[in-house]
C-alpha cells in the first residue's frame, strides 16, 4: 500500500510540469496562435526561477521570476508573429533556440548551487489519512495549483463570454475582427498566458523537483507539452488525462524495470509516448471524429489589409 501511495505521489509530481505548460499552450492555440517555443520558455523559466529563489531564498519569488521570464519570452514571440506577422512556426522554433542559449547564460552563475525545495503540504489530520492523505493533501502547492489552473481554464473557455470570444478568434479571425473584437490584442494576452504557464512549468523543475539548475534540464518536456495539446484535441479535460497518463506510464515503466519484468528498457522508455498517443487518439475518435483543431491555428492575421 505504501508503494502504491509512493507511485501516485511520483506520478503527480512528474505530470505537473507537463500539465502546466500544456495548459498555457492550449489557451494560446485556442486563440489561433501556434507557439512552438514552449521548450525555450520553459528552460528560461527554470533558469530565472532558480535564480530568483536562490537570491531571495523564497520559492514564491522564484516561481514569480519564472512566470515573468516565460511571459517576457512570449512577448518577443507576440511582437514578431502578431506585431510583424512573421511566420509562427519559424518564430516558435527560434524562440526555443534563443531560450536554450539564453538560459545557459543566465544560469551559468548558478550551476552547482542548491536551494531548499518547495515544502510539501502538511495539514493536521488530513495529510495523515492513510493512502489518500498524502496524495490529496501532502504534495507541494504547484501540484494542486496546476489542477486548479486547468479547471479555471476550462471554465473560462466554455463558461465565459471572454472565453467564447477567444475561441472565436482561433476559429475565424476574420469574423471575430468583423464583429469588432480586437483579435491581435486577445491573441497577445493568450500568448502571454501561454508564456507565463511555460515559465512556471519550467520553474517547477528546479524549485520543487530537483532543487538545482543545470543547462538543458527541461530535457524536451516543452515538446511533450506541445504534443499533449494536439493529442488532447485542444480539450482541457483530455489534456488532464493525457498529462497524467504520460506521467503514470513514465513512472510505472521505471518501477517495472526495478521489479525486473524483463521487457527491454528501450521499449519501456518509449511506452509513455505510445500509450498517451494511442489513448488520446482513441478518445478523440470515439466522440467527434475528424479534426478539432482551431480552424485559424497558425495562420497570420493582419487586420484591414
Amino acid at each position: 500500500m505504501e508503494l502504491v501511495e509512493a507511485i501516485i505521489l511520483a506520478v503527480l509530481a512528474a505530470s505537473t510540469p507537463l500539465l502546466i505548460a500544456a495548459t498555457g499552450e492550449l489557451v494560446t492555440e485556442r486563440s489561433g496562435v501556434l507557439n512552438l517555443g514552449v521548450e525555450g520558455m520553459m528552460i528560461m523559466g527554470a533558469a530565472c526561477g532558480f535564480a530568483g529563489a536562490w537570491l531571495t531564498g523564497s520559492i514564491v519569488i522564484g516561481a514569480l521570476c519564472g512566470i515573468v521570464a516565460g511571459t517576457l519570452m512570449s512577448l518577443i514571440f507576440a511582437l514578431m508573429t502578431l506585431g510583424l506577422a512573421v511566420n509562427q512556426v519559424a518564430t516558435g522554433l527560434a524562440l526555443t533556440i534563443l531560450g536554450v542559449g539564453l538560459s545557459g547564460l543566465i544560469g551559468a552563475g548558478f550551476v552547482g548551487e542548491r536551494i531548499t525545495p518547495a515544502a510539501h503540504l502538511d495539514l493536521p489530520v488530513l495529510t495523515r489519512i492513510p493512502l489518500i492523505g498524502r496524495v490529496l493533501f501532502g504534495e507541494d502547492a504547484f501540484v494542486y495549483f496546476s489542477l486548479a489552473l486547468i479547471v479555471a481554464v476550462w471554465w473560462f473557455l466554455y463558461r465565459t463570454r471572454a472565453g467564447l470570444v477567444l475561441r472565436a478568434c482561433g476559429d475565424n479571425h476574420v469574423s471575430a475582427h468583423a464583429l469588432g473584437y480586437p483579435v491581435l490584442r486577445i491573441r497577445t494576452f493568450a500568448v502571454m498566458f501561454g508564456g507565463a504557464c511555460a515559465g512556471l512549468a519550467g520553474a517547477y523543475l528546479p524549485l520543487a523537483y530537483t532543487p538545482f539548475f543545470i543547462p538543458g534540464m527541461t530535457a524536451g518536456r516543452g515538446w511533450i507539452a506541445l504534443a499533449l495539446v494536439v493529442f488532447s484535441s485542444w480539450r482541457p479535460g483530455r489534456l488532464v488525462v493525457g498529462a497524467y497518463l504520460f506521467g503514470a506510464v513514465t513512472i510505472l515503466q521505471l518501477h517495472a524495470q526495478g521489479w525486473g519484468v524483463g521487457v527491454p528498457s528501450q521499449f519501456m522508455s518509449a511506452l509513455p509516448y505510445l500509450a498517451t498517443v494511442i489513448v488520446l487518439v482513441l478518445l478523440s475518435r470515439a466522440r467527434t471524429g475528424g479534426s478539432t483543431a482551431p480552424a485559424a491555428l497558425g495562420t497570420v492575421f493582419v487586420p484591414d489589409r
Partner: protein, 358 residues
C-alpha cells in the same frame, strides 16, 4: 526533433566559442565537448582537465574548446574547424565522436588527434579511457557494508559495455561482503535528464533500495537520496554538495594529468599514436573522500583502493560466473582480459534482471 535544435544551438554557439586569438609560435590545442561545461558531470570534468593543462603549460600553448557539439555529422564539421584553425593536437571527448574524428584525422595527417573512450585508432589518432570499473568495485564493497535492506539501486544510462562492466564490478564486490545482496537496475535510456533521473531514484528507493548508484550525469539521484535519508554515490564529479549526508564517495574523472602528459609529448615532438586505458594507478580517475561511513568501512575502502592501485586486486579476477551459471572464459590468465571488459555484454551471477537486448 529536439536533436535538431540542439544541433542548431551548437551551430550558433560555435561562432561565439572560437574566441581564442592566435599567437604565432604557441602550440594550439583544441577540445570538443559533448555537453555544456557547466553540466557538473562529464564535460565539466574534461574542462577541469583543460584548465589544469592551461595552468601547467599556459605559457607554451593556447587552447580552444567547442562545447555542446552533438555526436554525428556536426561533430565532423566542428573537429575539422579546429584542425583548420591551426590546432595541432585535438581532444575529442565523447564516444560518439569516434568516426568523425577518424575521418578528419585521415584528412589532416599532420594534426594529432586524441579520442576519449573509443577503440578506433590511426597513425595520428590515439585513444584514451579510464578503468572506471575499478572505482565501481570499491563502491560495491562500500554499498554492501552500508546497505541495511541488502538491496542496492542502480540507475543505468544505456546498456553499453562500459555501464554493464560497472554494474558487474559493483555486484562482484558486494557479493564478497554479502553473498545474498540484491541489485535493482533501472535504465534511464538517457545520459542527462535530471527529472527522469530523480524519478528513477525515487522508484528504486520506493522499492526498498537504500544505497543508490548511478551511471547518468546529473546530481538528481544524489539529491533524491539525500532528501529521503538514503545513501548514494556521485558520478564523474564531486556531488557532496547535493548530498552532504548522503554521498559515500564518487568516481572523479581526472583528465588533467593525462592532458598535460600528452601535450608535453607533443611539445617535445615525441607524440605517438597510443591506446591509453588508465586506472587508479595512472590517475585517470580518483575517488572522492570516503564520507558518511564508519571508520572500519572507510578503512576497507582505502585498503581496496590501495590493493587495486598496486595491481594486487583485480575486480574481474577469474573465475567470473555469468548469469547462466557458467564460468566465463578467462582470456587474461588470472583475470578477464581488457577486450572482455571493454566489450562486456553479460551480467554476472547474482543479478536477477535481464540485460536489455540479450
Amino acid at each position: 526533433m529536439r536533436k535538431t535544435f540542439v544541433a542548431a544551438v551548437a551551430g550558433l554557439l560555435l561562432a561565439g566559442s572560437i574566441g581564442a586569438a592566435s599567437a604565432a609560435d604557441k602550440l594550439k590545442v583544441g577540445f570538443i565537448y559533448l555537453g555544456p561545461i557547466g553540466d557538473l558531470g562529464w564535460t565539466y570534468q574534461h574542462e577541469q582537465g583543460r584548465l589544469a593543462l592551461v595552468k601547467e603549460l599556459g605559457d607554451q600553448i593556447e587552447t580552444t574548446y567547442l562545447e555542446k557539439v552533438p555526436e554525428g555529422p556536426d561533430a565532423e564539421r566542428s573537429i575539422e574547424q579546429l584542425a583548420r584553425a591551426g590546432n595541432k593536437l585535438i581532444f575529442t571527448t565523447s564516444f560518439g565522436y569516434m568516426d568523425p574524428t577518424l575521418k578528419v584525422a585521415k584528412k589532416y595527417p599532420n594534426v594529432h588527434f586524441e579520442h576519449a573512450t573509443g577503440y578506433k585508432r590511426a597513425p595520428n589518432m590515439s585513444t584514451y579511457s579510464a578503468k572506471w570499473y575499478q572505482g565501481r568495485y570499491i563502491q560495491g564493497l562500500i554499498a554492501a557494508k552500508m546497505s541495511k535492506t541488502g538491496v542496492l539501486g542502480y540507475i543505468g544510462s544505456f546498456p553499453i559495455p562500459e555501464v554493464v562492466s560497472g554494474i558487474n564490478a559493483t555486484i562482484l564486490a558486494a557479493q564478497t561482503i554479502n553473498p545474498n545482496i540484491k541489485v535493482k537496475i533501472i535504465w534511464a535510456n538517457t545520459w542527462f535528464d535530471p527529472p527522469k533521473e530523480a524519478d528513477a531514484a525515487k522508484a528504486l528507493i520506493d522499492q526498498g533500495a537504500d544505497v543508490i548508484m548511478q551511471h547518468t550525469d546529473s546530481p538528481a539521484a544524489m539529491q533524491i537520496a539525500a532528501e529521503r535519508g538514503k545513501l548514494a554515490f556521485g558520478q564523474d564529479s564531486e556531488m557532496i554538495k547535493f548530498g552532504p549526508k548522503a554521498q559515500l564517495t564518487s568516481i572523479l574523472d581526472t583528465w588533467g594529468p593525462y592532458y598535460i602528459e600528452r601535450v608535453k609529448a607533443e611539445l617535445a615532438g615525441t607524440w605517438k599514436s597510443e591506446d591509453t586505458w588508465g586506472g587508479l594507478d595512472s590517475h585517470m580517475f580518483a575517488m572522492a573522500p570516503y564520507t558518511n561511513m564508519p571508520d572500519d568501512v572507510k578503512k576497507m575502502a582505502e585498503d581496496a583502493q590501495a590493493a587495486i592501485t598496486a595491481g594486487k586486486l583485480h575486480p574481474f579476477k577469474c573465475p567470473v560466473i555469468g548469469q547462466d551459471g557458467k564460468e566465463v572464459e578467462c582470456k587474461g590468465g588470472t583475470s578477464l582480459d581488457p577486450g572482455q571488459i571493454l566489450g562486456m555484454n553479460f551480467y554476472v551471477k547474482g543479478i536477477d534482471d535481464k540485460l536489455p537486448g540479450k
